[in-house]
Symmetry: C2
Subunit: 197 residues, 2 copies
Amino acid sequence: MTAPPLANLINELSRLPGIGAKSASRLAYHLLKRPAAEAEALAHAILEVKEKIRRCGVCNNMTDVEPCSICSDARRDPALLCVVEEAFNIPTVEATRDFRGLYHVLLGSLSPLKGIGPDDIDVGGVVRRVKEGTIREVILATNPNVEGEATALWVAQQLRPFDVRVTRLAFGLPVGGDLEYADQVTMSKALEGRREI
Amino acid sequence: MTAPPLANLINELSRLPGIGAKSASRLAYHLLKRPAAEAEALAHAILEVKEKIRRCGVCNNMTDVEPCSICSDARRDPALLCVVEEAFNIPTVEATRDFRGLYHVLLGSLSPLKGIGPDDIDVGGVVRRVKEGTIREVILATNPNVEGEATALWVAQQLRPFDVRVTRLAFGLPVGGDLEYADQVTMSKALEGRREI
């Protein structure tokens, strides 16, 4: 009984990750209630992003200029390379304001279960950039899970022939958390990585 | 450091209800990864809905035809009218498959705090339709909260001069719930509305 254009919008919205049928319906009715200009701004933003955003040819980041604004920023330290799985991991590292080097996006992580092997991720790009000789340290900032760990180990292995420091993000207690809620593996890592104070 | 078209999409998405900055970012990167056709389908669905969907002139439901597919359905019982606050409440009632009458959307509920008074909702439409004489029962299906209750009482009052049965949805324990989690008011209503078995 729902009008076809409305049913269609609800259907399209429910394809988005984390948006179920109820949320999709709520969003669709919300857009119906808002001024046309607001809904059009969203539609155009979607179209524009698909039209203008590409992968950076240097680091695989999402960008509208080539190379991306991070790669072309002369104030950043070209001796430091942070390797992440996905482009959306970059804002998370940037938010700390503690990292002023460059990035490389692997475009995924090793996952035998999903059939993603070493040739499916851009480790070659990391090696190529390290070979150029400017990079002194590669920080492996892959996810703190099984796939991320396997990927970090694999990248580290590929970089062994080169004169470059390879580091991994620290594991330990998340700041602001409660000791009693720390899982066993995290707690082990926190003990293992303990530091003098 | 985020490319402007991408930052713009994240911003537009975060204006949607229930979508925070993190979710907006996740949705935007998801759309970037999906084929262009999929993102375009969503953008066009948004534009089409704003272009084609209007309020039904009879019941205020969202529709692409006039009157809406419910109002024009000859198989439905024109003697039964279900009054709801918003168009998106109709699918919830329809999902029960227990109601085969018609609807009227009030376009809101009485809320002195938000400055919404009797003239801001379409009680007049309900009265007009009752006056036509076909309707035998008006079911008040406004929300089970303070505003919904006030609205139901107000509509009931406006219908008092007419020879029509006015009913309100039952209050009580939600099916599948646990007695121990029922709040005091719901429990009172459940006791008050108890029935012989």
